[in-house]
């Protein structure tokens, strides 16, 4: 069962949603509906699941409905139709009391402009959620301090928010959301108001916290870099509808339409694309218990002069050169084990591409891509790396000048 399960969620802003929804069902889009009825179609038929411990990024331009969507999850905005199931319970159907309980125990929320209470100290801010749950003073101070420790601000417990920098204030915002130990963190453009360096730090910190605490996180941003850096999965919104949902790589390599493409323009592809994108399956491989003759034969068949050798379980052992094999055959050697070159560069699938360039040396051996068990997934050769880069550059420059982009890509290597 997914942690969060959203089904046909729609929101119409305005006092008479029915005609607006009818027009929507006839296939009209937001601007026409607004013109005809005066109602804004904030969200339309949103469906997605979020698994426990997943970090889902919701991305979209201003006005695409991101804030509306995240607020429908804890009903700060009442959905017009649809369901939001948390742990299997539809919170749209909850009465006021049940809703308060959910907000207190299940959700923690972090806001774009921090929304700290200016008349309360940092610790009192952090304790807020516990305080309204009626937790006694002693234990809420203890938990509040623990939450402050998580973000490294325990020394500032008695300061007031306006004495802190923006980055520190948002840490307080984060610790306030974490203090009551909620399952789900809702973060609406939480880092957008911070300057870029601090922002990077905060992203890293969130990822660290996430690995440690295994919260389910919904993170909103309009910044692609941030989305790619944080998201296990990304949902792209446009005019209140989902235009694409997928892993960061899927979105980059297969943008669903022009809207998504516009989003990914100007991204530093080499940093975002990973080995997986440039990797090709190894055309042919040899196995460790094959004899030199067999391997040599297979090489000739495929027109190769070097070949990767693995075990039967595809565990990478090394690489062997054709002329070394020739000599071994002449000598009458039966084992290839001793002929292997083993100091190959191995990377995992999610290694960023720009980390691969330095690995190509004068021997120009392929780079092996392996999984956690050291099993061979594929190889990256110089050629395929360049090809991928050229394509990335094309997307980057909006497909206008891809003639220029290609030689440039070659130039880098």
């Amino acid at each position: 069962m997914p942690k969060i399960r959203v089904r046909s969620l729609s929101k119409v802003f305005g006092n008479n949603p029915t005609p607006a929804l009818k027009l929507r069902d006839k296939g009209l889009k937001r601007p026409e509906i607004l013109e005809k009825t005066g109602m804004t179609l904030g969200l339309s038929k949103i469906e997605f699941d979020v698994n426990e411990g997943e970090l889902l990024v919701i991305m979209g331009l201003s006005g695409s409905g991101k804030s509306t969507l995240i607020r429908c999850l804890n009903r700060l905005i009442e959905p017009t139709e649809g369901s939001v199931e948390i742990n299997g319970q539809d919170i749209v159907k909850l009465d006021n009391k049940g809703l308060l309980r959910f907000r207190r125990e299940t959700f923690g929320m972090v806001f774009q402009h921090f929304a700290l209470f200016p008349h309360r100290t940092v610790l009192e801010n952090t304790e807020y959620g516990l305080e309204i749950q009626g937790v006694d003073k002693g234990s809420r101070a203890k938990k509040g301090l623990e939450a402050l420790q998580l973000v490294g601000l325990e020394e500032w417990a008695d300061a007031y928010p306006d004495q802190l920098s923006g980055g520190m204030q948002q840490r307080v915002g984060l610790s306030r959301a974490l203090a009551a130990d909620p399952d789900i963190l809702l973060m609406d453009e939480a880092f957008s108001a911070l300057d870029p360096l601090i922002r990077r730090d905060m992203q890293q910190e969130l990822l660290d916290l996430q690995t440690r605490m295994k919260k389910t996180v919904i993170f909103i941003t309009h910044d692609l870099d941030e989305a790619l850096n944080l998201g296990d999965r990304i949902i792209l919104l446009k005019d209140g509808e989902i235009v694409q949902e997928g892993s960061p790589e899927e979105i980059l390599t297969h943008p669903a339409n022009r809207y998504v493409e516009r989003f990914i323009e100007g991204v530093d592809m080499t940093r975002i694309l990973t080995a997986n994108a440039a990797m090709t399956p190894a055309r042919a491989i040899g196995y460790l218990n094959d004899g030199p003759r067999t391997v040599l034969h297979r090489m000739r068949e495929n027109g190769m002069d070097r070949m990767l050798i693995t075990t039967r379980e595809r565990k990478l052992c090394g690489l062997v050169e054709a002329d070394v094999l020739n000599e071994a055959v002449k000598r009458g050697d039966r084992r290839i084990q001793d002929l292997l070159i083993t100091d190959l560069h191995k990377v995992s699938e999610d290694e960023p591409l720009n980390n691969l360039f330095p690995l190509f040396d004068e021997r120009s051996y392929p780079i092996a891509v392996v999984d956690e068990q050291d099993r061979l997934k594929g190889v990256v050769v110089r050629g395929s790396l360049l090809a991928e880069l050229a394509q990335a550059a094309t997307v980057e420059s909006g497909q206008k000048d891809n003639k220029q982009a290609q030689p440039e890509g070659e130039h880098i290597v």
Partner: protein, 290 residues
């Protein structure tokens, strides 16, 4: 004869309404009147019994220290302290000491009652749009009606004397306290309200933990205005038998004694300035407390 010439008996209606209220509730108003009067006279007697020198020192210390409680032993507003000491000494010297104390007591009572009524009304108007639409026009009415008019119904309710004066004063001085309470609560940024909601606050928790604490500086500005209005009304209320500096002014007018009138007026100004500065400091104290 046009129908426009047929005078609507508006005044008559108001009078019969008032008569009705006075008769029906005379026992209630009598009780309120007696209790309040006893309290006022009690406090007055108490203040009269304290040696003026001592009281001047106490007032001066209070003026010096207000708003600076948490800032260390010797921190305070020296200028206000000295001004209070000198000003009150002058009032004593002019022979207006007892009148000043009487006015002070009336202002104190009227303000307490006005604030006690104004804060809940202000909260209601801030939280419920319907209440806002009812209360605000009533406040406009109360503030534009000439102050003297309030004196008239006060008499049948409470009889001539300090309680009628307080009644009129409360009505006259309450509006700013209501308005500023409403304003202060409505000024709390929506994103903070949203944050409080997101953590599951009830309406009451939101009010007590967020809206009211954040409204305090604004509310204090309203209370400051209420005190100033109360002081001016207390002077006018001398016409219906309130004691105090107003009485001295009134006597000076009747006997055509401009000198005496000026002295009494000066005493009012001094008292007003001291009260004004002190309550202003009280309003800012919260903000400076970090």
């Amino acid at each position: 004869m046009s129908f426009l010439d047929n005078k609507i008996p508006l005044g008559h209606w108001v009078e019969s309404g008032l008569d009705f209220l006075t008769e029906e509730y005379s026992s209630v108003t009598r009780t309120i009147s007696d209790v309040t009067e006893n309290a006022i006279f009690g406090l007055n007697d108490l203040l009269f019994d304290i040696r003026p020198e001592l009281l001047i020192v106490v007032f001066a210390l209070l003026a010096w220290k207000v708003g600076y409680w948490r800032k260390g032993l010797f921190a305070g507003n020296w200028r206000l302290g000295v001004f209070t000491a000198v000003g009150f000494a002058l009032i004593y010297n002019l022979g207006l000491w007892d009148s000043m104390l009487e006015s002070f007591t009336l202002v104190l009572f009227a303000t307490v009652v006005a604030v006690a009524l104004a804060v809940p009304l202000g909260i209601l108007a801030a939280l419920y749009e319907g209440m806002y639409r009812i209360i605000m026009p009533v406040l406009d009415f109360m503030q534009t009606m000439p102050a003297f008019v309030y004196l008239i119904p006060a008499i049948p309710f409470f009889g001539i004397g300090p309680v009628a004066a307080i009644f009129a004063t409360v009505i006259f001085s309450m509006p700013p306290a209501i308005r500023f309470t409403t304003l202060g609560i409505r000024q709390v940024p929506t994103q903070l309200i949203e944050a409080a909601d997101a953590f599951g606050s009830t309406k009451a928790q939101k009010l007590l933990k967020l809206q009211l604490p954040m409204a305090v500086p604004t509310m204090m500005a309203g209370i400051n205005q209420t005190i100033m209005l109360a002081l001016s009304m207390v002077v006018i209320a001398a016409m219906i038998g309130a004691d105090g500096l107003g009485g001295d002014v009134w006597k000076a007018i009747q006997r055509l004694q401009p000198g005496k009138g000026f002295e009494a007026g000066l005493a009012v100004v001094i008292l007003a300035m001291v009260l004004d500065r002190m309550t202003q400091k009280l309003g800012q104290a919260k903000r400076q407390s970090k």
